[in-house]
Symmetry: none
Subunit: 289 residues, 2 copies
DNA sequence: AGATTTCTGAAAAATTCTCTTCTAGAGGAA
DNA sequence: TTCCTCTAGAAGAGAATTTTTCAGAAATCT
């Protein structure tokens, strides 16, 4: 038998071939590895929300004699880990050296998160949530060369949450067309990190002259557009790379989506349900094609 | 009861009042703490050279309901020890209450990061880096309804780093056209998180039959596409929201971009310079920094 | 030394755990 | 649709663990 493999390795190695309930179990076991696997089979099953036979079956699938055998291996691993002083937990990806790009990147992202969140003003966050939750205001979203993806992500979610959301094409030639449709009180959500795009400033000015509220996602240095912004989020985007990291920006975007969704849960829920129905219909339609 | 004391502290605290057999047991338990206490009561008794009643009695003496209770405490301690201290940040956004969505979201994202990185296999990461750095292989990128943005982000960066990168439109009707252009050894990068898209599985099968390497970004539950994947990254995507969090996926994507960029720095640098020239010529972007 | 108390482990009882079997049900194929 | 295969959990049999009981051994006290 492949005695040298850890339980975690065995699980990951055949994760793809596991069934639904088994994956659910595998996840719980990996989530708080190895502690979550050290209780009784009943406890493990309950924690994972599966039945005990599922646990027993998976243990055998992984090549163990039975669940007790799997558990004995877990204990042995734990023993080996604990008695080995080199196995320290100050690394993110425990299996990679701390000079590995994964760990260096994780350090950078953590620092970005810490600094960004330490400086963020909850009042601004709440104010933006209120703006985006207001059905009287249409929402227009725009991004630049790199941030286009973030704008798209934000748009996709907002579109489900509420009506009146527009994604502005990233080609600046057509921007005046979009401005035509903006009205006073509307919200323009702009993503602009270095290298800041000059046309974005123009767009902000045009929108500003129409009394549109400008919400800006930018970096720690601040896009020139910030001058015209009603509210802006400055994220740190340092990374051990030739590019900047958008992770923290995405984090704020997702938090904001969650906040708006909560603020307007009744409507969001109804829209999500309607969307489910539409998906089902599409699926049905496909069958005949 | 002194619920906050560890098992070890309880043992040491009343070591003087323990009997001979109990001290013998206590020593064994403290020797390989806490692993030696995690087996069955029979195993613990045998290891220590005492009888099982002695073990049960000491558990009660130490203030536990019984041996299983003591063991549960051991597991809880172990869990607390293993949890990354970095995640135990009281509040991320210091100015906001810890019940604020920003702080709740930050907790969730940190936990996702910790668990995902703890499980990631650097060999897989390195193998994927090598695949993507290989100029002999074309790279095709595809995402689903939500993950389209991530695919787009990945594509935008890879396009700068190297040639031969294609973004597959998210409309699955046209996918067969793209498969036509795939050749053996090419790399197909797939983003698929729940709700998994059925057509994605078909695409993977089509690509697989042409001997295309499949790199999959998915969630902890694993897209059905994983069965066909050469390498896959399972990210935790839990969030206090009706939606899932893509932050960790973006993190891995960015790390991978950085790794590929480093692996092929000569070429990447040249391409970035050429890009600068093109930007200047088209006057599309002006520098502010 | 003898009496008393405390301790210890064997054995049995009670409980819990683990595995096997079986059926309902989901999902896919014809 | 209808059939088939695979999956997942309920139920129960069997095995283990844990606890209790109890009697002998060891330690302590008078």
């Amino acid at each position: 038998m492949r005695q040298d493999l850890t339980v975690a390795e065995r699980i990951r190695g055949r994760f793809d071939r596991l069934t639904r309930a088994e994956r659910q179990l595998a996840n719980t076991m990996l989530a708080n590895y190895p502690v979550s696997g050290l209780g009784s089979i009943t406890a493990v099953a309950e924690t994972s929300g599966v039945s005990t036979p599922t646990v027993a079956r998976m243990a055998k699938k992984l090549g163990f004699v039975g669940f007790p055998d799997l558990q004995a291996n877990l204990r042995a691993e734990l023993q080996a880990t604990i008695s080995n002083p080199i196995a320290k937990h100050d690394r993110w990806a425990e299996n990679a050296p701390d000079t590995h790009i994964l760990n260096r990147f994780a350090d950078a992202v953590m620092e970005n998160m810490r600094q960004t969140l330490g400086q963020i003003n909850p009042d601004v966050f709440n104010a933006v949530t209120a703006l985006l939750s207001d059905r009287g205001r249409s929402v227009h979203v725009v991004g630049g060369r790199i941030t286009r993806s973030l704008a798209d992500y934000f748009f996709t979610h907002m579109q489900v949450i509420r009506s009146g959301v527009t994604l502005i094409a990233s080609n600046s030639n057509t921007w005046p067309h979009y401005v035509l449709n903006m009205k006073a009180g509307d919200v323009l959500v702009v993503f602009d990190i270095r290298r800041y795009e000059h046309d974005m400033l123009r767009l902000a000015e045009m929108a500003g002259s129409k009394d549109v509220k400008l919400v800006l996602f930018t970096d720690q240095w601040g896009s020139p557009t910030a001058k015209h912004a009603t509210h802006s989020f400055h994220s740190r985007i340092e990374a051990p790379s030739a590019w900047d990291s958008s992770v923290v920006i995405l984090f704020i975007v997702e938090s904001l989506i969650a906040a708006v969704q909560t603020a307007t849960w009744e409507e969001t829920r109804d829209r999500m349900r309607a969307l489910e129905v539409l998906f089902d219909q599409t699926k049905l339609f496909r069958k005949f094609v």
